[in-house]
Amino acid sequence: METSGMIETRGLRRTFKARQGPIEAVAGIDLRVETGAIFGFLGPNGAGKTTTLRMLSTLLPPSGGEATVAGCDLLKRPQHVRERIGYVGQQGGSDNTVRGRTELVFQGRLYGMSAGDARRRADELITMLELDACADRPSGSYSGGQRRRLDIALGLVHRPRLVFLDEPTGGLDPQGRARLWDEIRRLREDGMTVFLTTHYLEEADALCDRLAIIDHGRIVAEGTPDQLKRQIAGDVVRLGVAGSPREALELLAGQPFVREASAEDGMLRLAVDHGEAAMPAILRLLDGAGLRLETISLSRPSLDDVFLHKTGRSLREPAA
């Protein structure tokens, strides 16, 4: 056990029965999450993020594979796993009519605390997550941010070493999101391991020590945000030309300094080794071919580029 991480999975799978036949929601994933890290699971809706999270938190039995979570075998000792992990689902799970404080005390009691301990722990969490103003009101009256902080407090009641956060900042405004990021970083400072899912690239980039990109139930890339960006190497030049982009695409795709070229929404997207050197060359080439350039921009690769590179789709497409 001494070398094992907080989470280790081998070939973890989950298939669902559907009318059209079995659907493989999670198609065999191998993961290792180190203790004390914020680990992000990045992918579009329906990629298998929540299904994986539910399996790792004992809510859903895997169809195959094995996993160790917080030092316990997930399949053989789910009850031990439950005692050691916190889980904050996408919907949170507090009752609209119940006061936040009451929910926290009840949650503590479910983890075996005495009434007094549960009350004291609720007080601590209310202070820690700044819920003082609303703790004695029914949670139905909370703002989005307050609601989310209560959800997270509920997942921390028993001081777990590992906490799962499913889309923790979903539906929050930028301010609320930034504030929650700070809270999540504080959990890491307290020595906790955080496993979160997100479909926000900024969130994965800003918050996570390591990332796995998941698509169609498979992990397509894994590493630190920087490693992932470096994997696709080089810079991205986006340009718009007058008329059809086809001619420009054919012209530029054949150039030795262009690693990849594609057209999306009438714009050209080129992956190049050195953007600064490539731009003048691009300008000359288009000029020589009599193609008029309308816009041009250079960007360092983002996680979206990584995602596009790995899956052929952009993560920024509007969620269905």
Binding site: R54, S57, T58, L59, L60, P61, Q79, R82, E83, I85, Y87, G89, Q90, Q91, G92, G93, S94, D95, N96, T97, V98, T102, F106, Q107, R109, L110, Y111, G112, P138, L154
Partner: protein, 253 residues
Amino acid sequence: MKVLRDSWLVFERYVGITVRNPAWVVSGLVQPLLYLTLFAPLLKSVASTPGFPAGGAFNVFVPGLVIQLGLFGAAFVGFSLISELRLGVVERLRVTPVSRLALLLGRALRDVVNLLVGSVLLILLSIPFGLIVHPVGLLVVLGLQTLIGMLFASLSYALALWLKSEDSFAPLLTTATLPLVLLSGVLLPLSLAPDWLRSIAAANPLAYAVDASRAVFNDHLSDPSVIKGVAIMAVLAAAAVVTAARTYARAVA
């Protein structure tokens, strides 16, 4: 014992929620009171019909009404669970080490307590109308009602978790409860029924509960129908609790 401790915790929580939003309790109580005031008076003249059981109209009707309260008071509890499933409450509770059985038992117990309060109220209010009841009989009927509540609340929770949608749960409930009531002899005793109807009713477990209840109210505690009704409800309730607890332990939104 962990199951008992956890069941109590869950029970306490749901009692709290019920007290803050007693709409279901109130609607559960209004129904039998409406039957009592708007339907029972019709029975006065029917009671002299040949084939109507002895014991007076109220001692025939109220025992059935109590059982009907048990059915309707418990059968609709699943609705609350569907919205909890959607709000993530079910997952939040399931991910804690709380006893799986307690999650079901605690909330079903809350439903049973609701039922018992309503039943006692109904019985007390019927006394001025001419209902005769003995303390021991009352206890036996409340015991029977506990089993009925456990049975139908558990079934309701299991169905709600299978269907996961109010839109399919509501029509199913209406379709399932109406024949149960019609074939139980609650409204009019099955002794008035033709043979074919009576043989269909023999397959309805609720009919045995109604028989047992009537026997108790008419002071025939030693009548075999009492033990028969209680035994049938006990076996079904146990099976329903186990089924529902298992379903609950696996439920995801």
